[in-house]
Amino acid sequence: MALFVARRLFYLLPVLIAVSLLTFSIASLLPGDLAYTILGDQATPENVAALRRDMGLDQPIWWRYLSWLGNVLQGDFGRSFRTGQTVLQAVVERLPVSIELMLLAQVGALAIGVPLAIVCASRSGGPFDRFMTGSAFGMLSVPTFLSAILLIYLFAVELRWLPATGYVPFTEDPAANLRFMVLPALTLALAEWPGIMRVLRSDMIATLQEDYISLAKAKGLKASRILFVHALKPSSLTLVTITGINIGRLIGGAVIVETIFALPGIGRLLIGSILTRDLIILQGVVLLVGAGFVIMNFIVDLLYAVLDPRIRHGHA
């Protein structure tokens, strides 16, 4: 196991470097001068030149990359020139919101997807199975922002059960916090459950034909026990895989959902920095999200190896 972790870590490093290079080149090579953006339209050429010198923008590009990377490695991601807040402060402040949202969404998606998959797999080919498979396929065609609007219309405008926008920190008032979180998390969960259900369902249909399931039936075990314990366990690997694949989409979805529901998370920080052209914040957030995503995939890989010894030993 230690060898496996070491090997994966060895692969992780070049990817992280590549992520930093890509982030840096997006910010540096594409048109749009940071100095102009900061100073605005009324900037004189002299002012711009002076600021460029101050910020080191007149240095060669490889030098700028290395000094930027050096700062980043020391935890200095730069400072917003609009609010004066450092990137790290801004991100740390908002991270709990995004993580809570994504966790709730994932739990919700599993709560919808797993039972449906089990019921469908146990009666595969039946009317309920066909209906749910069709619905899952249809749901895959509903963009996140579309289900968000539908949910807002239904629960906030028509029924007035839940607030459409707003946020209270969990530490201040847990009940109110959850009330604000229900619709955003549900929106994301609605986008995620079809994938979970589809893959888990076909996985379980295969599992249910195994001999040991027949044995369990012959022993007279309860159908629910067979389905939820014996048949679900081998599919845990599949669940980890789908969760891993979905992280990227979940992050993208969180950006949209946070913007729609006005949740002060990372996604809204990102969109806000784009709209106000706060390029330092933008660069820092993109780097942190990219690095976070890579590390999460790394953890999923490790989890995989823990669950399946074959991967650890390089047989699969």
């Binding site: 890509l22 997006i26 396929f137 993208g252 933008l282």
Partner: protein
Amino acid sequence: MATLELDVAEEAVTQPARKGRKLGVLFWAAIGWLVFVCAVAVFANVLPLPSPTDMDMLERRAPFSAEHWLGTDGLGRDELSRLIHGARISLVVGVCAPVIGLVFGGALGMLAGYFRGRFESLVVGSMDVLLAFPPLILALAVTAYLGQSIFNLTLILGALSVPAFMRVARASTLTLARREFVIAAQALGATHARILLRELLPNVMLPLAAFFLLGVAVIIVVEGSLSFLGLGVPPPISSWGSMIGEGRESLEVAPRLAFLPAAAMFLTVLAFNLVGDALRALTDPRQGAL
């Protein structure tokens, strides 16, 4: 793009015999809808429609009428006309971007799968870096720097779809390159170029074409998301995404302004998914094997 997923084995496991190779009513309905949407989008300028940008401040959020079939939006612009012109943007971006992915990703994948070795490692490695970012984040960041225009948007989304196409092309090239007809061509002394273009390309094209349609569906959604956030196509051009975004503001008084483009988008994405999925099932060799 990471959002594209290939769960090829699924259909084969669930309904091996019954489904067969017949295309259902749903498939033809989807084709019909796509043909209809493409036709109105192409002929938008010829159709007797009011201008999609002419504002009529006295007729704001007007209900359905003979003059405005689907009413008007918050600025008094004809909703039907905006829907049809919006279809143009969504379809142009939705089709052109995957074409970029198809051409570059397909070529890279075929070359990587055919020549193997260091070139393959390089291609796969660099694609993995692109996939190391959540696609929407990367799209947002690049649009922020490049500036908003339909051209930039298509270019970015196209570049983001290259890795997915590369994977599909490489996977099928890998299996095909070991088949008898390729070995026979090699034995006959065919050049690499001839094998790639005459032997492999026609076979790799089928799964790529099916994947292309699924790609169109994904890109329409991503373009819609960006435009919805106000970071896609610049105003006053309307795409379905930006129309939904504008309609959101009047959800309480005129929900149809959000729901009409939403329905159009949903149906179109669903239709592309249906057709793509059906073609994928048809071209998937694994189903034939069962």
